[in-house]
Symmetry: C2
């Protein structure tokens, strides 16, 4: 199947197009046929060491198998067997969306097989695929929850049924498998059959409904890219255009919950359920890019940039309300009630990566990096056997260790849990980590762009079929020095472009013997590189104070500490006291010593009163100040129950 | 029926007991047989003018009829007709707890008939009672939701069914009617039959369940007080003792939601769903008082005092989470996400009034006053035709005016709504306002205690059958001067006790020609008053800055303004700009001018950025400072959509 989408009947408005289509570059979750940059795939970029390689190793050795074991144990994979064997609905287990966990796991396994060629994993992937395939009905419909005798009819509950959502994840898995194993794989056939069923059912003249949880849109768009079949894109567009007109009917949380209150084209920011909003925006970005719909692309980009400017936590986390797992209003970012769902982090990476490739705006790459380090990397425990669902920025009371043998409610614990009754996050982490290489670099006619920094080897083909091979050596984010060696390249000049994160004031680039400052954004070195030539990017990763916009009421008078892209946190196990008692002094920069970041903290001994409001500001008694080490936020709560805060009250404020 | 409860088999531990039982004093919602003070009833205290008389007038002329019209229009009173006529379940409308709205309305009507002797209202009350009575089953069970052919069986859903909760409100209505109209009234007979059914069903050896929503406990305890039948008290105790052992089973919100995680005796603070927690605490206080269970009383008092010290908004509002309508953790009091349900205000008044009467601790009377002025009085609009369900302390975006012809979701609007799909609050306000006189004063052997200040006439009988008549003249809370005239009293010395609110530093009492300072708490004037003698209490009500405990992270660097017991707020209609831009200067006290409180405010023009967190504190550009009038919080949003904040950021902090 061709890798680009044929033009629709109407000629789309011109977008920047890539000059060359190569044999490489299909091993990506997102493969736009237009846009500023083409992402490099898992066959082009290999992460060879450092922070992300370690997480990929954990994924390979622990996380994926952990998820396999739990979907089995919960009966969610067994639901497919029960369907094939006519034991539904009696034998069914799990919530209405449990099928999707199996599909996200299949996607993770597909990327992982491509990354590691693990034969045992390939075998398990095939076996699980066969069980899913056996449950598919002759017309392509697949759900273990609906449509069989004794079950509610198909599409009888579009508000909450999640049928299209689940099939969307099946289609994403099919695309991943198709790109990595070929289009005649069983998983691809199952996905395509499901997509054909969806188009036949929900196309023009058919069911005019939409799914309560967006996801099928982004999946259908990607399937269109993979298959070259524009029908899937048209169907994605239909779902997006139908949304926002009260199509789904009313619910107690309001139609804004599932983005059915305002059409995508009319919204000015993301709102409602965060994961739903982000998946929908990703799908809308895909449709806009493929159809050359510049208005829609600009609208989605503006929504996302506004959301980054006003509705995003310093961690990159999104979703300020537990109620409805939803975005708050502008500037409403309570650290202690941050929902910041791990899946919203995945959704943010999805949409920001799409907008980055379409527009070249570095803010999207910054958002991807921030979210990877501070949301995605925070979710799994060091052993890969438990996960955060929500990612609070302030823990007021030490949590209880979740039972390792039972699924937890989704947001009940301050400690990572092995599984959840609604367990969307662990499988979402595994599929993201397995495909991380696809976020590292891209190409255009002029050269190669590096967006995320890790020890990697990169090969790419730029315009004119000219091969480029790079090696990136770095200890980033611990160290800010990033050494890019051009191992192979054309003799004539070409462009190596490097992202300077917005926080990296004072960055420098050394190339051709000269060092120059490089402001935030993208900096390009255009040279006729000789093989072995080195470009050095120096990012100032030293720990720094980070202050909030004064409109973020919830953290007024508080400060956070970041080091490079990593958000730090104060944890009670380091303070030796409840972090609720801490005041920090900020006259000098945070101290770095022996690989630790330390800040001067005094603890307070507030007087107990009968009523917490009074006629004078209460000035607490302070302990002697001492230097306290901070922990990377993504590493918090790895040492047992604790209290924690990212935002620390500043003494004298 | 006697007004005191016979002693149970076990002799209870001694509590302070009253010396005299009078013929008066039955017209109260709470009539403990033991405790520090006996409350004066609607036959003893008449509110003759001022703030509360105006609200009672609004209740009489608008609010009660508004509620009557809406329970009719929503079909909730019609459900009883449908039950009697065999048209259930097909004809049923409303949620599972809709019966309770009719019962709370009956309670409001009962108090109001006692207060005003309104014959037309009496006639409507009898008619509505008859419709309810017709739906009662022969064994006393009554519910329009459960138990009939085609409905779920009785008590098949104790978690969410609200059957005992509804019957609890029926019993409270029956007690109100019994105390005000006599025990052979139909409403009393219906209530007693329901209570007998409950005791027969849930007594020892019967169904061991409890209701997901506490309320029947407090109702049964009061029915025991009214009838003198200890069975009802025993049943209340059973329900309280059974709770906290996972009796109800698990729910997604966790057993803490309905206080089934920890036994009442073991809890150290109120937690979970705020209304549930407060109603339960009120019932536990009643049982403790009647049975002389000092341990239980001390436990409940400690829970409530801790809740006041750490989990209560400056308005007296309780409930910091929209999710689960629940208490937050200690110090977790976000103003913009305050749930502060109006019904939780009612529940707080219920439990604090009980603890005040039992213990004489003035903090409970302070809490009642604060909650009356800033939660109960906030709920109804000036025309009495719309109500707040939740009471936010910060409104970030102007709301939309709710449709006057449709019930609103419970917490969706920043403007008062005419009715709600879950409409517990309007009827709760009406029953509270109709019975307000019962919160004003109490007696003991030595004399009379005044807890709440309003223009009133008071008659009481103290020990030895000695009659006392008082007249209170005041413009409180606008003015702090409260003039108590002793119109009649015994010739020998007796004690007039006056509450000094905790905020009233500098209060004075003038009696017998001498003025003395009176610190917060209770101050007693013990004299042989001559008829016509005057005692003057001067409370310093001048507007003052109010600062939060530094542990309340959400309002760090912000200040509120209070005037006497009234919390003030900054509203955009007065600022002429979004209140999100306001900074206040606090060097001098707030200005009082022409009956307004004004504070010096500058507005900011923050720069728009791409990312709200950065390397330096952002110092916004300020407008020229000007004096801006504040509005009483209970009057906010009476002038159309607006933004509002109780806590205002302080310049330079």
């Amino acid at each position: 199947m061709p890798a680009t989408v044929p033009a629709p009947d109407e000629q789309p408005a011109p977008l920047p197009t890539r000059g060359s289509v190569t044999e490489l570059g299909h091993l990506v979750p997102v493969a736009p046929s237009r846009g500023r940059w083409r992402p490099l795939g898992l066959d082009e970029v290999v992460i060879t060491g450092g922070f992300w390689a370690a997480l990929q190793r954990l994924n390979a050795t622990e996380m994926i198998e952990h998820c396999e074991a739990w979907v089995e144990r919960m009966g969610w994979s067994g639901n497919f067997d029960a369907a094939a064997e006519g034991r539904l609905p009696a034998a069914r287990r799990g919530r209405e969306f449990s099928d999707s966990e199996v599909y996200k796991l299949l996607e993770a396994m597909s990327w992982e097989v491509a990354r590691t060629a693990d034969a045992a994993l390939e075998s398990r992937l095939r076996a699980l695929t066969a069980r899913v395939a056996a449950a598919q009905e002759p017309d392509g419909y697949i759900s273990t929850m609906f449509g069989r005798p004794g079950q509610a009819p198909r599409y009888s509950d579009l508000q909450w049924g999640h049928e299209l959502y689940c099939m969307g994840h099946l289609i994403q898995a099919g695309v991943a498998r198709g790109r990595t194993a070929g289009s005649d794989d069983l998983l691809v056939r199952v996905a395509v059959a499901a997509a054909d069923h969806i188009c036949a059912t929900f196309g023009n003249g058919g069911n005019l409904g939409i799914c309560g949880h967006p996801e099928v849109e982004v999946a259908l768009a990607e399937l269109a890219r993979f298959t070259g079949d524009h029908r899937y894109l048209d169907q994605a567009r239909l779902f997006i255009e139908r949304r926002g007109h009260g199509t789904l009917g009313d619910i107690e949380l309001g139609a804004a919950y599932f983005q059915d209150d305002v059409p995508v084209r009319d919204a000015t920011t993301l709102s409602g359920h965060a994961v739903r909003a982000l998946y929908l925006a990703a799908g809308a970005a895909d449709v806009a890019v493929e159809d050359g719909d510049d208005d829609l692309l600009a609208t989605v980009a503006s929504q996302v940039l506004t959301t980054l400017a006003r509705r995003t936590y310093v961690t990159g986390g999104m979703g300020a309300h537990h109620e409805g797992e939803s975005f708050g209003l502008d500037w409403e970012l309570p650290p202690d009630r941050a929902y910041s769902e791990t899946c919203a982090g995945v959704g943010s990476i999805m949409v920001n990566q799409r907008l980055l490739l379409a527009t070249g705006d570095p803010r999207h790459a910054d958002a991807v990096e921030r979210t990877l380090y501070n949301v995605i990397a925070t979710s799994p425990a060091a052993d890969g056997h438990s996960f955060y669902y929500t990612n609070t920025l302030q823990q007021r009371v030490p949590g209880r260790t979740p039972d390792p043998d039972h699924a937890s409610p989704r947001a009940s614990s301050s400690l990572r849990a092995p599984w959840f009754e609604v367990s969307c996050c662990p499988t979402n982490v595994t599929r993201t980590v397995a495909s991380l290489a696809a976020y590292v670099a891209s190409v255009d006619d002029e050269g190669v762009q590096l967006h995320q920094y890790a020890p990697t080897t990169i090969r790419a083909v730029i315009s004119g079929g000219r091969a480029v091979r790079l090696r990136v050596a770095t200890e980033y984010p611990m160290d800010g020095r990033i050494v890019v060696t051009v191992e192979e390249g054309p003799v004539e000049a070409w462009a190596l472009t490097l992202r300077i994160p917005a926080w990296a004031e004072g960055a420098t680039i050394t190339a051709g013997g000269a060092t120059r400052p490089a402001g935030p954004g993208y900096a390009t070195v255009e040279r006729a590189f000789t093989p072995g030539e080195v470009v050095v990017l120096n990012l100032p990763v030293a720990a720094r104070w980070t202050w909030p916009d004064p409109r973020v009421d919830a953290v007024r008078g508080q400060v956070a500490v970041e080091r490079g892209p990593v958000v730090l946190a104060l944890e009670s196990v380091d303070l030796g006291a409840d972090v609720g008692s801490a005041l920090v002094r900020t006259n000098e920069p945070p101290v770095e010593r022996d690989g630790q970041v330390l800040v001067p903290i005094a603890t307070t001994f507030p007087e107990e009163g009968h009523w917490p409001f009074g006629p004078a500001p209460r000035v607490p008694t302070l302990s002697d100040e001492h230097l306290v080490p901070l922990v990377a936020y993504h590493d918090w709560a790895q040492r047992g129950p604790s209290t924690m805060r990212v935002w620390i009250p500043v003494a004298g404020r």
